[in-house]
Amino acid sequence: MSFTETDFELVEKFNSGSEKAFNEIVKRHRQKIYWHARRMTANHLDADEIVQEVLLVLYKKLGGFKFKSSLYTWIYSITATRSINFIKRRKLKEIFSFEDQPDAALKNDDDIIESIEQREKLLRLEKVLQKLPVKQREVFIMRMYDALSYEEISRITGKSVGGLKANYFHAIKKITELMKENE
């Protein structure tokens, strides 16, 4: 499987029955999927669950993908939706649970980050992100970490550019206030 194969070629091969083509698509996008989910949920295990969900959706729906957008946009869109749905489910569980739920950012026993220093730094930033409303968090992550334009984010999320700009404005304002409080 050549690294220079385009996404289109890989999808065509998958539709012809090539499982290797699917594997190659996953290899190209798995880190993006994981890190978006990780930043949205602030938890490795939750992010891992979302990754598996996204791959399952990908596997089932790739055959029907018609390249109306880029494959990257489509995969990111699935990841963003699954992440938000997961967070909503987690919130419901917390509401209906009679036990105190530990902070999501603290459930990192199985974290994959090797350096303790980096893990603690990430934990601090994840705690701040978790205080943002989900929509603000999402656009902040896409702008900050993936350097996506508002137009690209609009294609991924289906939200208007104006709405995304407003969410980003409030996100960076809130983050600045929270980080100053933590100093």
Partner: protein, 194 residues
């Protein structure tokens, strides 16, 4: 509102003219510059955390674990279909067994077993026979009307009444009209058989 202008500038919410105006103010104001740099440094901290060293095994294992789950899902999805089909078959079999085993009513047995009412029937029918001789018969066959009325009053099943009545009643009884049957019925009630 300097701080909000900083966020609007960094968020790309300013028009071109607004950006130019803001940059001019930024150049002229050290305080604004300091606030602007503080915000940028905070945001940079998030960006720097983008490159984190992680256990590479994790990403290498994502696909094999996914394949494993996929295989399990494929085998699991078959079971509910078979379970549903099996449940329907069981339900149909139970329904068929129930219908086939429904007991047929043994009329003669019931008639014989209604012993507790037999004496009352006996007395009643003797008086009924006397009454019936005064009634003019009709061409209309009213066996069912009479039987159901009498059976109802004596708290008997119709078929057991038929068994008992056939021993006593003259044939004319079964050819009474509706009106005649009603008269007989009310006269029987007045005789206080029950």
């Amino acid at each position: 509102m300097n701080r909000d202008d900083i966020f609007r500038f960094l968020g790309g919410l300013m028009s071109d003219e607004e950006k130019i105006s803001f940059e001019e103010r930024l150049n002229k104001s050290p305080m604004l510059q300091k606030e602007f740099n503080d915000v940028k440094n905070i945001l940079r901290e998030f960006k720097e955390n983008d490159s984190i060293e992680v256990k590479e095994d994790y990403f290498n294992n994502i696909l094999p674990r996914f394949r494993e789950k996929l295989e399990k899902k494929k085998s699991f999805t078959l079971v509910p279909k078979y379970a549903a089909g099996f449940a329907i078959v069981i339900l149909l079999a139970l329904t068929a067994i129930f219908i086939l085993n429904e007991k047929e009513v043994d009329e003669s047995a019931i008639a014989v077993n209604d012993e507790y009412n037999y004496e009352a029937v006996d007395d009643y029918l003797k008086s009924y026979s006397t009454l019936s001789s005064t009634i003019i018969s009709d061409s209309i066959y009213n066996e069912d009307v009479i039987d159901s009325l009498i059976a109802d009053e004596l708290n008997l099943q119709e078929h057991s009444l038929e068994y008992a009545v056939s021993s006593y009643l003259p044939a004319e009884v079964y050819s009474y009209s509706n009106e005649e049957a009603e008269i007989i019925y009310h006269e029987l009630l007045n005789k206080k058989i029950l």
